[in-house]
């Protein structure tokens, strides 16, 4: 019955789950696997974004591949941790490339303020 304490919990969860329906494929997985896959996709998006500005780091793709392996092996917390790390690499690489767009001779070689 929805009116019991536990029932509220179930009702809430059911409502939330229903709200997640548009998510498609992820809907049919258990939450942990879904979380791992979402984390991996987020990492991949960040990696592609860094790559688009020439800022991808060396190990990011390998980390994502490893996270996929971990997810396939059911090691979801490990997969999520590694995927999050890879996502941060993608974000840091993107910011780095954008920050370096006007990279130039150092002043000790060529002082442009003169």
């Amino acid at each position: 019955m929805i009116t019991t304490k536990r029932g509220y919990g179930y009702g809430l969860a059911a409502g939330v789950l229903a709200a997640l329906l548009p998510l498609g494929a992820a809907w049919s997985e258990t939450p942990d696997r879904a979380q791992a896959l979402a984390g991996i996709e987020a990492a991949e998006a960040a990696r592609r974004r860094a790559d688009s500005v020439g800022g991808e780091w060396r190990d990011t793709a390998a980390m994502i591949a490893r996270a996929r392996e971990l997810a396939e092996a059911g090691r979801y917390p490990d997969a999520i941790e590694l995927a999050d790390q890879a996502k941060r690499q993608g974000e840091l690489g993107y910011d780095q490339a954008l920050g370096e767009q006007n990279a130039d001779f150092p002043a000790y070689v060529l002082d442009r303020s003169r």
Binding site: E56, W57, R58, Q96, Q101, S113, R114
Partner: protein, 281 residues
């Protein structure tokens, strides 16, 4: 002088004396002069014609080893294999000499701005363009037969002077130079290094036991037999390796980034004598 001439002259003079904010326009010539002056001032005891020998110009201990190695150079096989490749006709009966009538001593013709293609042309690209035009499969760009062919061409070109041009009447050439320059000074990779961080102010210092080589002299001696590789490799192979060493994802050999980088860096080395192929640790 005409009325318009006076007006123009006045405007030019006015413009020259007005402070116009941060000066961003130094010409490539000025940049090159500053680059070379920096290294001559940093290494005052190194004769100008020694910079082409890299760390061996500034590190007497490793120079001794290098001179011993140069008595029986590890790139000799590459030169003779390259010579065979150069002289072997393609399936259609033609050869490299037909694409390069000035060859094989053509090392200092590259890199150069190619108006038709609208891009920097490098020697490996030109060699593969020749192959493709004659129905041959292109060679890979980091090692193997391309390195042998380049070794032969480099050897035959020894003594030529680096003389990269940036044509003034094609702004795309200057844009390519600028992109190469930006690449050189941009931090990249997890370790956050630009090429400049190892090869300008810190050149001559030691990274663990290895002396960092100065950028002035970097482009004269390719391809290189590098002991670490145990084989020959090209300039773009080294670009890729350096990028990976700072934990950046490497770019494609002979892709736009490394072509423009080669264009900028070789222009900075203008005036230096070519002395490839080389042997390095």
């Amino acid at each position: 002088m005409t009325k318009h001439g006076f007006l123009l002259a006045t405007l030019v003079l006015a413009g020259a004396t007005l402070p116009i904010g941060p000066v961003t326009a130094a010409t490539p010539e000025e940049e090159q002069a500053a680059f070379q002056a920096y290294f001559k001032q940093r290494f005052p005891n190194v004769p100008e014609d020694e910079f082409k020998n890299g760390t061996y110009a500034i590190d007497p201990v490793t120079r001794e080893n290098w001179e011993a190695i140069e008595e029986f150079p590890p790139y000799e096989n590459a030169i003779s294999q390259g010579e065979t490749l150069w002289n072997t006709p393609f399936a259609d009966g033609q050869g490299y000499a037909d694409c390069f009538p000035d060859g094989p001593a053509i090392m200092n013709h590259y890199p150069r701005w190619d108006r038709e293609r609208g891009q920097v042309m490098t020697l490996p690209l030109a060699l593969n363009a020749c192959r493709t035009a004659h129905g041959e499969t292109p060679l890979k760009y980091k090692k193997g037969p391309i390195a042998d062919l380049l070794a032969y061409i480099a050897f035959e070109s020894r003594g030529q002077i680096t003389q990269v041009e940036i044509p003034q009447d094609d702004p795309r050439a200057l844009a390519a130079y600028e992109q190469g320059k930006r690449f050189y000074f941009a931090r990249r990779g997890q370790l956050n290094f630009a090429c400049a961080h190892c090869h300008l102010a810190t050149s001559g210092t030691k990274l663990r036991t290895e002396t960092l080589s100065p950028a002035y002299g970097h482009t004269t001696h390719w391809p290189v037999y590098r002991s670490e590789w145990g084989e020959m490799g090209t300039l773009h192979r080294r670009f890729a390796g350096c990028n990976e060493q700072v934990r950046a994802k490497a770019f494609e050999p002979q892709g736009e980034e490394y072509r423009n980088l080669e264009y900028f860096l070789t222009y900075m080395n203008n005036g230096l004598e070519l002395n490839g192929p080389g042997a390095r640790k």
